[in-house]
Amino acid sequence: MLTNWKVIWLLIFLLGVSIGLQIQTISTEVKYTSIKDMYAFSIELESQQSEVEQLKIKIEDIKNQVATYQLAKTDERIDYAQFLADEIELTKEISGITPVQGPGVVIVITDGTRELGEDENPNNVLVHDIDIRALVDDLRNAGAEAISINNERVIFNKSNIQCTGPTIKVNDQVFAPPYIIQAIGDRKFLESAINSPDSYSESLRQWGLFVEVNTSVNIKIPKYEGFVEYLYTN
């Protein structure tokens, strides 16, 4: 009889402990989430954090601008009109509507000359518009400041690189291979963007296309010649 009571007390004690544990689990601030959602949240967080960083830089920049405008306007020694004209030149420069020069790389890309395998699609050894676009993207990622294809300036908001059968159209000018891509920026970065083992151009080389990159101390890139007016933007 005595042992029975002991057992019952022991069970009651265990029950109490487990109830306590259960309550603790429920009341703590935990959420049920899948690993996938958690991953999505962490990317979102990373994204927001880098945006905050970017905004901080922008705020610094605007503050500087406000200060310089204020100074230019109030200071008698500075010609405000001249100051504005300089600003216009700078904005034009970053928009790609002035010819620029600087150190950079010259890339030559042309169709492969290897023999085709049996029943192999000839497209495998041809340069396509998508290849050029990917190369330009690789160069931008490496910090290219100005890019041209066969002496035609590529700017993001206006340029298109379009397949037109045997040729490729850049800014509505038609070009046939070889394509010569020039880019101004840090020569080492740009060169490695083309030569690194996981770069897009390396995969093109694997297919048998010819891609070569050379650095140059001075490259001239013309201005964008197209239409720069807006019709639909308010």
């Binding site: 959602d37 880098s50 620029v100 908001n157």
Partner: protein
């Protein structure tokens, strides 16, 4: 007697293995593999605080921009030359993507297909980022005047780049769904990307969810950063 203990020990080991399997199995399927974690709460809290900070910074930007605008307009009130120059500057600023613009255009939403947790077949648009480049190119061909991806304005230096499992645009990591805004002739833009065998069909055939809407007024944000050339200089 001693043999009995050996058997009991063996049975205990087997039971232990079963229990481990069971727990593992439950973790995989119970609530679709959701696990209660403290980490999520931490991330969510941090996210909220970062978002609040971003809001504040955006307000600061707006405040400073109005201040700058006031200085400029008061200066242009003084002489016609200055006014003309200011207008010209604003035009080029808009062209270079440094100001917020609005107009008619299209809104393209691209998302991953719904994923089956058990199948584990991951289809992520981030891996097909070159199709995003294609889409942008098609929009440019169709005369888009300003384009943004998830509130990141496309400018001359904008890259669309696979980084790990996500895509970086203007070095900001972004995750699907991708919302691409383009200003231009809504009909032309819509028609160009919805062309038969065009980019939208291409994306849909690969299983991605794509929606294209023509919008009367769409706002494309300014580039949230600064551009400075370190290597290139203008040739006179």
């Amino acid at each position: 007697m001693k043999r009995d203990y050996v058997w009991i020990g063996l049975a205990c080991i087997i039971l232990g293995i079963f229990m481990a399997f069971q727990m593992k199995f439950i973790q995989g399927t119970y609530l679709d593999g959701d696990t209660p974690t403290q980490k999520t709460v931490e991330i969510l809290n941090e996210l909220a605080s970062v978002e609040a900070e971003k809001e504040l910074l955006l307000e600061e930007v707006t405040r400073l921009e109005t201040q700058l605008e006031e200085i400029k307009s008061s200066a242009s009130g003084e002489s016609a030359i200055v006014k003309n120059l200011t207008d010209e500057l604003d035009r080029y600023k808009a062209f270079s993507g440094m100001t917020r613009v609005s107009g008619t255009g299209v809104l393209v939403t691209i998302d991953n297909p719904p994923q089956d947790v058990n199948l584990g077949s991951e289809k992520n648009i981030a891996y097909d980022y070159r199709l995003i480049l294609d889409l942008i190119n098609e929009l440019n061909s169709a005369g888009a005047e300003a384009i943004s991806i998830n509130e990141q304005r496309m400018i001359n230096s904008t890259e669309v780049r696979l980084a790990g499992n996500q895509v970086n645009v203007n070095t900001i990591p972004i995750a699907p769904p991708f919302v691409i805004k383009a200003i231009g002739s809504a009909k032309t833009l819509d028609g160009a990307i919805n062309q038969r065998f065009g980019i939208v069909q291409n994306l849909r055939e690969l299983g991605y969810y794509v929606e294209v809407n023509q919008v009367e007024i769409i706002e494309v944000p300014a580039f949230n950063g600064t551009v400075k050339f370190n290597y290139a200089t203008t040739v006179e």
